[in-house]
Symmetry: D2
Subunit: 347 residues, 4 copies
């Protein structure tokens, strides 16, 4: 870490900073230029908030952190790409993972039918919301525990592992009784106590990116989970909030290669929430895979016109089925693998 | 609500939509132009998510909501400005409320000293964090229950009511045992279960605006609290996330008059988190008051250079004391009142 | 267009609005509900700014435009995808167009070497800046007319058509003497007089998206060019400005399918300016193609370490050469074509 | 400037960077830590783009600029606040300057009436657009030279100096023949050739902030003007583009104190374009003054309902007149001065 003192900082101010650094058990190395003094801080490990502690000292102009704030999610700590095993499915390997299913679990019939349809098209994990965060308290908020039971039933019928959202620590036990992967939604991405509690629950966690979350903050949120002893974290880019009204959110497709440069964690793309419109889902799916994503999470519904939530962005069975072979082709073009049933590949 | 059908929508599509509207117990009024059909929906009350339910129908181009989504926080529902009584302090009346105190409760000495100093300068409520949300799991996260006890002690010493953050439903009982006002932080602004639980706790709630929260979403978050029977919600603008790096966040000062046009709830400004830099706090404080805010929430620390969090944006006692009479003058200029001790007013 | 009057709008206000509509030669069709009156405006064509003219009338709550503001760039006006012929190259057809070259023309040697290298790798148009917009007046601002001459020379040597930026109307003649395509930079995207003047110059125009330009505004900027009689406009997405610091800009890859849904104009992606970092250029290139872009514009430099501008985001010859076959594979996977020399394809 | 080399940078890479620094006539000072080498660059003045030139070298992790990029607009270069004399009016002194007038000059009657009304209420400069940038080519684009003549006539009638926008270098002579202050609009804020040309025209220039312009970029744009020998630049904050739809733009009120900390140039606020809605203009005006702005620029129209542009955000004469004494009170509260006619002050 480098501390740049202000032009004309007083000797006392410099000494104060040096004293503080040494108080923290670290070394300080002074370099006095014509105009300014620069203090190099050495020692290992540096306290993670050292920059914050030092930059508030009088006379300090700027503290330049050289090492990253996150650790457990970074390559330094874990030089192999993380692979996560969820029943038969390996996430983060050469084969892509397609998660599909309805926004909300609405009924047994709707969920099982969707599970069968997405499996037949090549999806390997079923999604579905039982506890739904909604912007307004007056909207449909999910079937709760009954929704979890329906998801489990759909898993029994199809063999697909399931992923569903948990919104609050009190529900972790219940949700964990059923789900294979915990999903943390975009609005809860900095609900730190939830992150820690879910980190203790012993199952993989998918962490959606918050609407205005910087990539480094996202990795720090992942640290909350991993630091509880759970290394199985999947990141999912789902669009950020910008000034552009044509899409519900703006898919930050660059997040995929940036995160992969910084972290060993698998990165997914959710084209449905990014687009907000069914017609854009195929293009964003293909873009995500081409950028290197390890998988996709796509909303599919038997009758989007009658969906209780997110109908506008859900694909029909037929749309999903015709998208899958297109994804498989792009996967092949970028050196990844996606096995699609022969019947579907021939579409 | 008005449903605009696509150019060339089929008769069947139009009939389907009309049938759906009637299924919901509402009236549909058709108006067929040369190019398009428009369907007016009448009935009262309209289901809050009606637009979402209708816009996904085949043939629908757009649904235009005419009434607002929020209700309890709007003027229609409650035509008097909300006033909230917190011990001796009335929030939302002609007199401004200045909340001040440290970011984190660090020790009894630090907290009591700050309470006394801010009271002496004219503040009427003490803030202080016992449970701290931090971007990184490696940062100081507050003293917890011990922090609450210290706050209560500072209240005993000064008579100032206290406000402190609650981060998760499991802490509501503990925090509620001590605090006078619950604070919901920006990162938890759409943690809906927390909002509902705190809505049941029988004490006023300050709801900070999320980093990328639209104003209508903020009022809907307030509805989560109010719909539990707790009308005492205070909104606090604390800066939104934009592309500008010169400030920690961008204070959206327009939020003050916009919210006041839509809602009867008191609106505060937090210049400290918006600015992120001590030197900007006075200008943003004065701007907030001039824009019509009902109060401010300002971070003050006995020695910001040694603060365990947010030191860079905390005022010293002297800075806070010299700011108060300036706030009082602007308050007077915009027809509001702020009583500052005579000694301070003379500064 | 639909005019929604306020709840309780006075009869006089309604009559005023109707009178104004008729004054403009249009029809007004009243529909009075229990609470509100709605006025449908009919007639064709509607004045493009009609909504703006009407929404300011007393008693009007909202004006809902049903048709889009842009015309010439939309599908309604021109139902075939636009194809633009630039010497031997067809832009907007099944074959992708890869534009490559240095940010700035620095010397004959640098430019000709780059032209040869990018041609050998499969690029079909050469880019290079002779007039450079720079954030600071103290930065390198291009070789001017000498730069144009060098570009023409590189064209002579390689046969590649050239594209270069024009920054001000006074330079159009000069630049037009040499260039095959005019480029309008992101900072000039709403420099309307430049757009009109370049629209008269009789050569294709590439219009980069502004840093905070909404997609509808972009199409309206294209209208400025097209309305001068020049239909040959290429749109180029190059990243928008958001809160995320990890990339120079945020590539809005959704812009590709959204624009293609609204407009017949070819859409390109510039991964170099979006990323700002060489290492991210391949992933963003592939994502752009997978999303359906008609081409890419990529910065390439013989020695990026010594580039006079944008070195950090420029590819070396070797990096570009190894990227091209990857682009070709993704192009094939999404049903597009990119012919790459055999030697390169085998890399 | 400090160059931080990558962990494990090769000796050759370090030597290359040092050689480059010396090639540029500067000194390099090596400091080798256990893990990294840091190179301090000394010499004065440093080339303004030195960081860009150095950060692209192999082995360089980061270049940390310590001094600011702008010079002429900064306090170091000009330690007194800039005061600009425009006929009888002094901008940047203790007295606030209120500029008011219509968005567009529509007719002599409209303009002269507005000039008289705003003068009677205490405004000291008249604004009015003769050349109008419009998002769509189909909108009203101003009266051109006839508009300038009308503005001059209104100046003759009232004695108010005038400010009007110039959009392209070719119009500078024409506009300069009439105007007292050149206005550069938000969309032209990085039209660098226009900035330079207007810098040569010998009259003060108001530079509006671009919709997504960072504050440092704004000061660099001002450098383009000042570097032509014209120190009389006024900056005008008019709202930035964010995700919030409730206002046309988001007024970044913090820009006022931030700029004043960095620069000696006067800073204005334009509440009309920020708000986009008449009802919000008073609150934003007062907030701007409270934050320390040197003046305001407010749109006023005799009949906003019939304005040819920006009617929704224009004040009526009565609204402007009742706002002025409120501004004067806040000005007084923050130690600034605004003289309002006695009749108006008594309102």
């Amino acid at each position: 870490m480098i501390i740049v003192m202000e032009k004309g900082a007083a000797i006392d101010q410099i000494n104060d900073v040096v004293a503080r650094v040494r108080e923290l058990g670290l070394g300080a190395h002074l370099s006095s230029g014509e105009e300014r003094t620069i203090i190099g801080v050495v020692g290992s490990p540096l306290p993670p908030t050292l920059d914050e502690l030092l930059e508030i000292h009088a006379g300090v102009e700027r503290v330049v952190r050289i090492t990253k704030k996150f650790k457990l999610s970074g390559w330094d700590f874990h030089p192999q790409k993380t692979r996560i095993q969820v029943r038969d499915v390996t996430i983060g390997g050469p084969e892509l993972t397609i998660i599909a299913g309805p926004c909300s679990v609405e009924s047994e019939e709707q969920t099982v039918a969707t599970a069968k349809a997405v499996k037949a098209a090549g999806a390997t994990i079923l999604r579905g919301g039982a506890y739904k965060p909604r912007t307004s308290p007056y909207e449909f908020r999910g079937l709760g525990r009954r929704g979890l039971e329906i998801l489990a039933l759909a898993r029994d019928e199809t063999g697909l592992p399931i992923i569903t959202e948990v919104m609050t620590p009190a529900d972790i036990l219940d949700v964990g009784e059923f789900t294979d992967i915990f999903q943390i939604g975009a609005r809860n991405c900095q609900n730190y106590l939830l992150l820690e509690e879910v980190g203790k629950a012993g199952k993989p966690v998918m962490l959606k990116r918050g609407l205005s979350m910087q990539l480094e903050e996202w990795l720090l949120a992942a640290e909350y989970v991993i630091s509880q002893g759970n290394p199985d974290v999947i990141l999912c880019e789902r669009g950020i909030r910008t000034f552009e009204p044509a899409t519900r959110n703006t898919l930050d497709v660059s997040a995929v290669p940036v995160i992969q440069g910084l972290s060993h964690l698998p990165v997914f793309v959710d084209p449905s929430h990014a687009a907000g419109k069914r017609a854009l889902v195929p293009a964003l799916s293909l873009a995500g895979i081409a950028a290197g994503a390890d998988g996709l999470m796509i909303e599919v519904h038997p009758s989007p016109d009658h969906a209780m939530s997110d109908g506008a962005q859900s694909l029909t069975f037929a749309e999903f089925e015709s998208l899958m072979p297109r994804i498989a082709k792009v996967a092949g073009a970028v050196g990844r693998d996606l096995r699609v049933p022969e019947r579907v590949a021939a579409l």
